[in-house]
C-alpha cells in the first residue's frame, strides 16, 4: 500500500511540471503558479483557472469553472468521512488533500487501517511532489521563453483530454461530451471567453437529472 501511494504520488506529482509550465504560458507569475498548487490543490481546477484566464476569460468564469470541477471533491469527502472519522485539525488538513488520487488509493484498500494510511500517504505524497514539480515547471517555462515554440499551448488541452478519457464509459458520458463540444463551440463567437465552458455544466445537470 505504501508502494502504491508512493508510485501514485510521484507519477501524478511529476505532472505538476506541466501545470507550472502552463501557468507561465498563460501569463501567471511563478509565485501565483506555486500558490495555486499549494492552496487550490486540485489538478483539473488549477488547469481550468489558468486556461480560462489565459484564453481571455474573466476571473468570475475562471472561479466558477474551477469550483464546478472541484465539486466532486465534496463527494469524495462524504464517501471518506465514515472511514477516516476525522475531527478537529485532522479534518481541516485532510480536507485539503481530499482529491482523486488519495480517495482512489484509500477506497482500493481492504481494511479500515490501510484505508486511512492510503489516504494520508497518497494525499501528503501527491501534495509534496505536485508542489515541488509545479515550481520546477514554472522555472523551466520562464527560462525557455515562447511557449508555442515548445508546444505548451497544446499540452493544456491534451492534459484535459487525458483527464477526460478515463471518465468516458458508456453512452451517457459520450453523449454529455459530444453535446458539450457542440454547445461550447456554438457559443464561442457570441459570448465572452470562459462562458462557453461553464455553460456546459447545464448539459451535465439536465442529463443527470433525467436519467
Amino acid at each position: 500500500m505504501k508502494r502504491d501511494s508512493f508510485t501514485v504520488s510521484i507519477t501524478v506529482g511529476a505532472y505538476g511540471i506541466a501545470f507550472g509550465a502552463a501557468a507561465i504560458a498563460d501569463h501567471f507569475t511563478i509565485l501565483q503558479a506555486c500558490l495555486l498548487s499549494l492552496l487550490l490543490f486540485s489538478g483539473a481546477s488549477q488547469f481550468a483557472v489558468v486556461g480560462v484566464l489565459g484564453a481571455g476569460g474573466s476571473a468570475a468564469s475562471a472561479i466558477a469553472t474551477s469550483t464546478l470541477l472541484g465539486s466532486r471533491n465534496a463527494l469524495y469527502g462524504l464517501r471518506l468521512a465514515p472511514i477516516l472519522n476525522h475531527k478537529g485539525w485532522r479534518r481541516a488538513v485532510g480536507a485539503q488533500v481530499t482529491i482523486d488520487e488519495s480517495t482512489g488509493v484509500a477506497l482500493s484498500q481492504d481494511t479500515n487501517k490501510s484505508m486511512k494510511q492510503g489516504f494520508w500517504y497518497t494525499g501528503i505524497g501527491v501534495f509534496i511532489f505536485w508542489n515541488f514539480f509545479t515550481l520546477l515547471g514554472a522555472l523551466g517555462a520562464k527560462a525557455i521563453g515562447n511557449p508555442s515554440a515548445w508546444g505548451l499551448d497544446a499540452a493544456v488541452p491534451a492534459a484535459f483530454l487525458g483527464m477526460l478519457w478515463p471518465r468516458l464509459k458508456g453512452r451517457d458520458t459520450w453523449a454529455v461530451a459530444a453535446a458539450s463540444v457542440v454547445l461550447s463551440l456554438t457559443l464561442v463567437p457570441f459570448v465572452p471567453a470562459g462562458v462557453p465552458i461553464i455553460s456546459c455544466a447545464v448539459i451535465a445537470i439536465l442529463l443527470g437529472w433525467k436519467s
Binding site: H27, F28, L36, L39, L40, A44, A48, G51, L53, G56, A59, A62, I63, T67, L68, L69, G70, S71, R72, N73, A74, L75, Y76, G77, L78, R79, L80, A81, R91, Q96, S148, G151, D153, A154, A155, P157, A158, F160, L161, G162, M163, L164, W165, R167, T173, A177, S180, V181, L183, S184, L185, P192, A193, P196, I197, C200, A201, I203, A204, G208
Partner: protein, 102 residues
Amino acid sequence: MTPQWIALIGASVFAYALKYLGSAIPQSWLAHPRIQKINSLIPISLLSALVIVQGVTEKTKYVIDQRAAGVAFAIMALIAKAPFPVVVVGAAITSAVVYRFK
C-alpha cells in the same frame, strides 16, 4: 488586484470549502442518486468543453493552428492506450513541430 490574483484566491477558497463540506455534512445530503449522477457528469462536460475551446479557439474566434495538431495526436495516443505523460508530451512535440514549420 489583477484578475489572476482574484481568480487564485476565489478559486482556492471555494475549492477548500467544497473539500471541507464533504467531510462535515450529514451523509444523507449528497447521497441522492441524481446528485451523484450529476456530479459524475459535470467534470465530463467541463473537460470536453475545455479540450475543444482550448484546442481550436482564441477568445471569440475559431483558430485552427498547431494546437489542433497536438490535440489530434493526443486523441490517437489515447485510443492507442498510451500512458498520460506520452499523451501530453507527444501533443506538445507535435504542436511544436507544426509551429516550427508552418
